[in-house]
Amino acid sequence: MSILEVKNIKYKYDKYNESSKYALNDVSFSIDESEFTALIGESGSGKSTLISHLNGLYRADSGDILFKGKSIYDKDFNLTNLRFKCGIVFQYPEYQLFSETVLEDVAFGAIKKGLSKDEAYKKSLEVLKMLGIDHLKDETPFNLSGGEKRKVAFAGVFVMDPDILIFDEPDAGLDPVSKDQFYKLLKMLNQKYKTTIIYITHNLDDVIEYANKVIVLKEGTVLKEGKPYEVLTDKEIMSKANLDMPYAVEIYYELLKLGRKIDISKLKFDELKETLIGLK
């Protein structure tokens, strides 16, 4: 069942100018429960604008968004509630950290959601433990490293127990090891808790590895959506979207040139390795 349905939404920033272009121009797609979706596209294609619509921060000029079958633009739809269920972690953690200690900051969302202070702190500590940063709980958030700040920002959203987790470029500026850890964590949340995940990224190699759905955006429209191996191997779409193919796809095409056709749906690192070792 789809948890989120986006129907023909249009949005422009400069509403006072007739000729200004739409940041989102007739975008439609739907996300199923516990899907792991990557949103890709070149800079300025409207990815960040799109996710800001998903929890009602921006209101589309036209079109509709359904959360669990209900229009979020209905008069009696509870938007505050949606913000708890649809947690967005934005690109810059600096924009959300403000408390004296990490623990206090993480607890903010939980308290806003209605938990008592004790419950909120307890829950925050659990989340910090899960992310492996509980030793930072009494530090001030401003002196942390970039990666740590990101984790704290993520904890601050995750503590609200959202059904959908949305990330804007969560891997930007992370070192390779933290990045892998981060994606593994998402995978775990996705498989164990059935959390629906949508994330924006420029790193297509990881999309093949972790996502089970891809949406390609270009100038505010959806070029294609589908399984990673369907979308990322589509040469026409990829060049239209100004995106480079991931390594695995390049290897696939190189082998094809040599007359070796391998299973296109098996492009994850381990699968590809198996296949390549199997080749003579």
Binding site: Y16, N55, I88, F90, Y95, Q96, K112, K113, V157
Partner: protein
């Protein structure tokens, strides 16, 4: 919401007003503001309105975009109107209970409102049609005579341009911070005044932190490019008056003379 503040924003388009020398525009703004405050009768206001409308028409910025900046002024406008209408002593024309509206109050309130609105629109047009760097150049050159009095005009101009440039950046940052905090359930509108003030903390702390960081980065960037003593710097594009600039100066002169003349037109307009 917060994006409705247009003061300090530049609107990129092509128009006569955009191509004018910044010194001319600064002078025009100054003249216009002065004219607002020496206007005494209806003719002066009509003249100022015609002047403003002409500039709005010529500058090619969508009208709605220009007056968008007024939204944030509404509260101030409302308060000043209320105070003036009710608290000015004079000929009562309407009263209920202890409050009474006077003729003088109405006139003063109308004048105040027009002045305030025109003032904001006038200065918005200056920044909407002039890039910050041109604005500073204009200020620097226009005020360079103050160098004689050992006033560091270039430094002051630079400070002003940095401050101006920061306004849109700050607005954008406020917007992003609000988005991030609202995603965590923050609500900046609900509640009593004290609650509202408290709810600003999650907004203000990140804003200050990032502003300080930005200021620090900028200072380092300037240091590492050996910025010093602005007075001896030469310009890539030195300002030079064109024909249209001289014509505009003439129009300005005419405008201010006409405004002065209106002071001597004695007519007795009965408001009621």
């Amino acid at each position: 919401m917060i994006r409705d503040i247009t003061l300090g924003q530049y609107y990129k388009t092509e128009s006569v007003i955009h191509t004018l020398d910044p010194r001319v525009k600064l002078m025009a703004t100054l003249v216009f503001l002065i004219s607002l405050f020496i206007s005494t009768n209806i003719f002066a206001y009509i003249l100022a309105t015609v002047f403003l409308l002409a500039v709005i028409y010529l500058c090619n910025v969508p009208f709605l975009f220009i007056i968008r900046g007024l939204k944030s002024l509404l509260v101030l406008l409302f308060i000043s109107i209320i105070f003036n209408v009710f608290l000015t002593p004079g000929e009562t024309i309407f009263s209920f209970g202890p409050l009474s509206i006077t003729k003088e109050g109405l006139i003063i309130a109308t004048k105040m409102a027009i002045r305030l609105v025109y003032l904001v629109i006038g200065s918005s047009i200056l920044t909407l049609t002039t890039t910050p760097s041109k604005l500073t150049d204009g200020l620097e050159k226009g005020l360079s005579f103050l160098n004689v009095f050992k006033i560091p005009v270039a430094e002051i101009a630079l400070m002003m341009s940095i401050a101006l440039r920061f306004i849109p950046i700050l607005i954008e940052e406020v917007d992003k911070i609000m988005k991030a905090q609202m995603s965590r359930g923050a609500d900046f509108e609900k509640g009593s005044i004290i609650e509202k003030a408290k709810s600003l903390i999650p907004l203000l702390v990140p804003l200050f932190v990032s502003s300080f960081r930005r200021a620090n980065d900028l200072a380092y960037a300037m240091e590492s490019r050996c910025y010093s003593n602005a007075n001896n710097r030469t310009k890539l594009k030195p300002l030079k008056y064109k024909r249209i600039d001289y014509i505009t100066y003439l129009i300005l002169l005419l405008f201010i003379i006409l405004i002065f003349i209106t002071r001597y037109i004695k007519i007795d307009i009965r408001v009621f």
